[in-house]
Symmetry: C2
DNA sequence: GCATTTTACATAGCATGCTATTCAATAGGA
DNA sequence: TCCTATTGAATAGCATGCTATGTAAAATGC
């Protein structure tokens, strides 16, 4: 009845809605937040690097970045060495969102796991990570 | 870096792509399969019942059912007692897909969990279920 | 050097999922 | 009864994600 696949989908949807609610006051959407996490860690990455970092398809990243450019979260400028490459940089607005946005995500995660003890939280993360690894090879 | 929320999303995406590949030869999409699971168990449910069973928004279910009607998987007929209600019924085509589609889903789940032992598989499902429960109350 | 292949990104088209709104039918209360 | 509230479903509009394809720039092979 409640297979791993169904539960993964259900869990992910509930987490996305929860995070969306918390990020909305900041004018930020969940997928945008994931990109910002990458860029807060290292600004000025290329689109291809973000694709690897977040493991989404190139087309998905291109579209997300378009919306982020529209929302003045990032700029996209061609690299000098290679005109095919676009360098993605944080705007001032995006830099200011770091602390509140990370708090929103932290709160959502804490809420989701609030019925699990420390060890169970660790187990859940570990087990999901191992399933993801299995699915990624191939 | 790899929070529960990120992992849930990643896990769910990988499972959806895997299931999609396996269901494609049957002419079936993942969300359609979930609806069929409900109807194979009990045919002739209303849209509202399917919404409760799968815990998606009413609008999401309406759109999924439109695509399923288009693909000749279900019929939608108004109830006699209450003309607002639509009764959703399986077509012959959908009835025939039951065994191969459930095998596809079973195979995908087995693959995803193939690196975990019996106890770990059980733990993962239990822990996801508990997180889902927490997120649903409220 | 030039043709071919590869790479980086963009675009088209679609499925799934959400929120918000609308519409029609039914139920409930005065 | 009639007016209002509620209910069941459809629709609009959008974000996220996918596959498939197009385009331009760079790299490679002869």
């Amino acid at each position: 009845m409640h297979s791993a696949g169904y539960l993964a989908n259900h869990f992910a949807r509930l987490m996305a809605v929860g995070l969306q609610r918390r990020l909305k006051p900041l004018g930020l959407a969940p997928a945008q937040f994931m990109v910002l996490l990458e860029l807060w860690d290292r600004d000025g990455q290329t689109q291809a690097e973000l694709v690897v970092g977040l493991d989404v398809e190139q087309a998905t990243m291109a579209n997300t970045l378009s919306r982020m450019e529209r929302d003045e979260l990032v700029t996209r400028n061609p690299s000098d060495e290679d005109k095919r490459v676009k360098i993605i940089r944080l705007t001032e607005r995006a830099k200011k969102l770091r602390v509140p946005a990370q708090k929103a995500a932290y709160d959502q995660n804490m809420h989701a796991l609030s019925d699990l003890d420390e060890n169970e939280q660790f187990q859940l993360v570990q087990l999901m990570q191992r399933a993801v690894s299995t699915l990624k090879r191939r």
